[in-house]
Symmetry: C2
Subunit: 580 residues, 2 copies
């Protein structure tokens, strides 16, 4: 090694020894006859000292070093007179004899500090400099730690990591595939996997019993802040299991990760049905770090002559503790907020329960004080609280109030960072009806098993069929989901029929899986966690991009290497394709 | 779990307990009033017993079970009267009370046995059945074990696993890229990485100090037996290191893998220069499980009037111990073997040193007994040995004799399975001249650093420049290679110039890397192991396909899922491409 020690390990026990450190110049300070340089590497920062009186030439040389120069410094460890208890190396400094410039540096386009002056675009263009910042480096160290803990935990549980192929086959169900033209089979394409779903099921048919993989997956979707065209999953599958076994195993994994990586004990994860989640939180991924659950006041609110209530399918409210003093302006602003197209409510109704016990509302004309009291009563409101009411179509109103609940949670600082509340959501519907295309879609995917008792409903009322499916939610973020799978060819065929596949298309696309089911497929099920999201939750970050070494931007571009890019005519010709 | 135990764990200590096992019917035997079924899962095989006298209905049911049916068997553990000491569960059997058929199975198209009757094509089409065979399952278990040991070793050495992107940019150097058309940036393409080379170097610029990744890489090459379009690398990079540090670190990893996975102590790996490897073995990846090194007899053999020798640049031989009794027919056959186009020798000359001390050769007309004795003497031949001589152009003759040496090693059973002889090869040339395109190519890749003292030769005699590069060879197979990298922009630019890149092309393709070198790039180097090959060597297999769960065939097809395949017109249109 060009160094004897890293910049993070020296302390008073090393006083007096000769060392060589290598690293980057974080900053330098001239203090009269002394020059101090903070030398940085992945492991920490160590202070170098140069003395003008002792060695003027060397000191001048040190003064000539710019930010981010890479140097080797040779010298002796000495106790500092002015100790810095905040730094692990803060008790010592290096009295430098000699330096060697290993590489110079131009002035970086932004500061290499936690609070950098670089904007997102600039940081991404110079991602190799952005990654030098502590805050980003720690995110990737956390990611590594989560990955290695996950692998070791699953290994001890008897899971085998098996690599599934990246170049597979395009399927019409689900999101859009990225495809790869084949040179050796012109006119034909591979597709990049959206998940290794069918392969992991085949591994169960093959008898591997317990499979996992940390695996890159790909979706050609229009991107949002928390989406990347390539992302990583913790992908798992088990044979001869019930839903309970899978929840136990992956609750065990998640608790172990919280404990070993963050030192947090989460306790047993509560469970909630999809119906209860929608009814009480207006979301299938509720943040249960705070209450503010819904109160249904449909029966108390109809027939009072207020048309918006009388025409509503459902009237529900939340109780914002201590918000009775909200001003007119604040309430107008909240009303505008719920009326935005993303939320889609037609209006917001409030009831203030003043600290003085006086009740005021936006519906005083229609509701008697007793009527309002009944609402406050059912909502468990206390003096000082504010009731916020939405009314309309059932699901849309629940979802809108769910959004408002999250927003009020933010405004009231109820979504505490550093607090982690995992939750299993179970009992999902198997199918979702799409009004636009007038067909059912699989809520999870077409391989999800219905609850056995509901199978007859597939013929009579498919929308009512419940799935043997489950999601893991942490702090309102869906971390993963899975299901018990179909392992019977006939049921799988029926499922494709319900989803509108012709027999031919089902056979062409998934024939290999249905054939496999004819050769002794075991009962099986599994789960997949979004690893980028899991890292982001663990790291307390806002954007998954800060937890990916080289992310792409919202147009799917890597601005550092400038891709996607044109390829040569010769390449196109070899592949047998042309640009339109 | 649907089972209480696996099929691999019950023994005499469990006698008398009630158990439920799940698995596949491996085979069944009717023995008078008793029926035996071997029930198989990933963990082993357990014998089930059904007694016609005790329960005729159940016994009939058991007799109806076909091969590969999936069942749950409920019963009691009992000591076997007829123990099988070869099976971990061979002391017990299950007296079955009840069975449940979890899934039936058609008759498999080949037998699920180590020695199957299925050919390669059929096995690949039904890979999920092929994977049920012990021999293949164990290969994938070995692969998992090697992966987890590799990760834990490197983690303990301070390496961080960092995922680099799969959708990157096409570059003209090296093999052909697979490309991915971009929908959001029409007319532009991503490329799949042939290796994460530039990204790992950027991670060093970013200060990550020690990086590794088990990572899928892609090459659109015409395939051979040991090539796959997608393959896996153990990819590593370190900063502030010399070549010695990298060899130490990865020799440590390899020795640890041998020890922990195979229980084999390999000792310190010998090192050999490229020049010595070519001179003594005619290969840059010699199998050193056996000797049979080359003897140069050019000076002893010229001027005897034999034109093939007199016109040769080099005359070299190997000594095949104990082969002096080779018949005319055997020698003719060996001569034909070296004259095949793959080997390319013009002929083969032999000298037999008989057990009786009599010397016979194919060049008796030109060589006196003393001349022949001098050759035998220099070759350390003993009575009973056979000398095989090739002559011609230097490199071609060395390579041809290297092939002959390997072949003789095979024929004499000197390449012993289960014996492992790793070797570092160092001191490679930086560049290779290609006669066809009349230009230099990088022997490793364009980022490899020249030996510092040889840098001036880049201007005067590039072919003479040695690289700071190294390969790990095990048993004659190149497992991996690496180098100290260039970390200086000007040297990198010069390297591209020597390789025939225009400044514009170098900037367009690798500008991001050269720019990064201007912001404090540390000295760094690394290595990559071919993980599929490593697994194959460890597992003692012939084909990497047996160590990959879902491999592709020689046409790049996955015959199980039938890909590559046509995609829809709509997909093509969205991507802005047409078929030619």
């Amino acid at each position: 090694m060009l160094r004897t020690h890293t910049c993070g390990e020296l302390n008073l026990t090393n006083t007096g020894i000769e060392v060589t450190l290598c690293g980057w110049v974080q900053r330098s300070r001239d203090m009269g006859g002394l020059t101090f340089i903070d030398l940085r590497d992945r492991y920490g920062i160590t202070q170098l000292v140069f003395n003008m009186q002792g060695n003027a030439v060397l000191c001048e040389e040190a003064r000539g070093l710019g930010r981010e120069f890479v140097i080797a410094a040779y010298g002796k460890v000495a106790e500092r007179s002015n100790k810095n208890p905040k730094m692990p190396t803060g008790d010592i400094e290096i009295l430098v004899d000699r330096i060697e410039i290993l590489n110079s540096s131009k002035i970086p386009p932004f500061t290499i500090e936690d609070n950098t002056d670089g904007g997102e675009e600039l940081r991404m263009k110079y991602r190799y400099l952005d990654l030098r910042r502590n805050i980003i480096r720690k995110n990737l160290e956390l990611r590594h730690k989560l990955a290695i803990e996950t692998r070791n935990y699953l290994n001890l549980q008897g899971f085998i990591e098996i690599e599934t192929p990246v170049m597979i086959k395009s399927t019409p169900e689900g999101a859009r595939d990225f495809v790869v033209p084949s040179r050796m089979n012109q006119g034909q394409f591979y597709a990049l996997p959206q998940s290794p779903q069918t392969f992991k099921q085949l591994l169960m048919v093959a008898g591997f019993d317990r499979y996992f993989q940390l695996v890159k997956c790909f979706r050609d979707e229009d991107l949002r802040a928390d989406r990347q065209p390539e992302f990583t999953q913790i992908d798992c599958e088990m044979s001869f299991v019930t839903q309970e076994d899978i929840l136990d195993t992956f609750e065990g994994l998640t608790r172990q990760l919280f404990k070993s990586v963050l030192g947090v004990e989460t306790g047993v994860f509560p469970r909630m049905t999809y119906d209860d989640a929608m009814k009480n939180y207006g979301s299938d991924k509720p943040d249960i770090r705070f209450g503010m659950t819904f109160t249904d006041i449909t029966d108390l609110s109809k027939g009072k002559g207020l048309r918006v209530f009388d025409n509503a399918e459902i009237i529900v409210c939340i109780t914002a503790k201590g918000c009775s003093e909200y001003s007119r302006k604040q309430l107008d602003e909240l009303t505008d907020w719920v009326k935005r197209p993303q939320i889609g409510a037609s209006g917001l109704i409030y009831v203030k329960y003043g600290n003085d016990g006086i009740i005021k509302s936006s519906i005083d004309k229609f509701f008697t004080p007793d009527d309002l009291s009944a609402i406050l009563n059912r909502s468990d409101a206390e003096p000082g609280d504010l009731i916020l009411i939405l009314a309309g179509k059932k699901t849309a109103t629940q979802k809108a109030l769910g959004e408002l609940r999250q927003e009020m949670g933010n405004r009231l600082n109820l979504r505490r960072p550093g607090e982690f509340k995992p939750l299993w959501v179970t009992g999902f519907p198997l199918l979702e009806w799409d009004e636009e295309t007038k067909r059912f879609y699989a809520m999870h995917h077409p391989f999800t098993s219905p609850v056995p008792g509901d199978i007859p409903l597939l013929d009579t009322d498919p929308g009512k069929v419940r799935a043997n499916a489950y999601d893991l939610v942490i702090n309102g973020v869906e971390i993963g989901g899975g299901s018990i799978r179909i392992h019977n060819k006939d049921l799988q065929k029926k499922m494709f029929t319900v989803l509108g596949f012709s027999d031919e298309l089902a056979q062409e696309q998934f024939g290999f899986l249905m054939n496999a089911f004819e050769f002794g497929a075991p009962p099986h099920g599994g789960i997949a966690f979004g690893f980028d999201r899991l890292c982001t939750i663990f790291g307390g970050g806002d954007s998954i991009r800060d937890f990916i070494a080289f992310p792409k931007n919202n147009s799917g571009r890597d601005v550092m290497i400038d891709t996607p890019a044109r390829i040569s005519e010769e390449q196109l010709k070899e592949l047998g394709i042309k640009l339109v």
